[in-house]
Symmetry: C2
Subunit: 144 residues, 2 copies
DNA sequence: CTCAATGCAAACTATTTGCATTCGA
DNA sequence: TCGAATGCAAATAGTTTGCATTGAG
């Protein structure tokens, strides 16, 4: 079941409606590799679809997060970002505080340890956030 | 060297000034175990020190983050929180999305793996953030 | 038809800033 | 004394909401 099917299913179950705008937003969102803020996505969409409003983009992103298609990220720059979430290929982030570039990484060992930590506190993990902040290789060199 | 000494040193090096307000804010902040937002700390301070303004609290917290005494946290509820940072007793968080309670944990194994990941990308870690969201033991039971 | 979704503008919330005044070094 | 810090109020930025209108089921 792909993301679009997941969305349709979710909409149906909740008695919501599947509009044209939502489909356009969802597709544009899924086809991107970036970490979009509401504004980023709104601006991108506006080129081809000037009739789609900021609020709709925002509400749709929230909806996608709700049904597990998007993950909300917050890198501490005051902007909430969203990224397409794919259960079977989870990853975390290295964030360069100098140039803002973002590198994705995944480390199954860490995920496993997380589970152990949670178990220690009888805690049920629903999602997590793991970000390393610092200097990427390029900025590291420059600072020398 | 304790936190207050670190602060004094930082202030001196930067040619800043060490005011009464800053000392009060710093002490109150350090003596707390909580994860304060600017507002939380402002309200707490106001009881004993009604003359300290919100902006001063905010600017001081930013300053503390800058000199490494405080860590900025963002649990995704739209409020930036700060916690006293102690280099030698670092910890991360389990955040209950149901009741909002926060459990601290530390797992040296994970820290070690982080370093390995960073090395893989020739990335220099300055700080990190690692949060697990889900249900704490109490809320987990209730949901059954 | 009915009720959810949209688009716009306005409202809100957290954070930041301008500026006259105060105060530390 | 001099410039950094303060406190207030006002500005900003991101996010959310109210409401008349549109449109999907």
């Amino acid at each position: 079941m792909d993301q679009i099917a997941v969305f349709n299913e979710y909409v149906r179950r909740k008695g919501l409606k599947n509009t044209n705008q939502r489909m356009i937003i969802l597709e544009t969102f899924l086809n991107s590799k970036s970490h979009y803020s509401t504004e980023d996505l709104y601006l991108k969409l506006r080129k081809d679809h000037p009739r789609i409003g900021y609020a709709t983009v925002h509400r749709t992103l929230k909806l996608l997060a709700e049904c597990g298609i998007a993950l909300e990220l917050n890198f501490g720059d005051g902007q909430t970002r969203f990224e397409p979430l794919n259960a079977d290929q989870h990853h975390d982030h290295l964030v360069c505080t100098e140039c803002g570039s973002i590198i994705e990484f995944s480390e199954p060992e860490i995920e496993k340890l997380q589970e152990q930590v949670a178990a220690r506190y009888n805690f049920k993990i629903v999602s997590h956030r793991h970000e390393l902040y610092g200097l990427c290789s390029t900025c590291k060199e420059k600072s020398n």
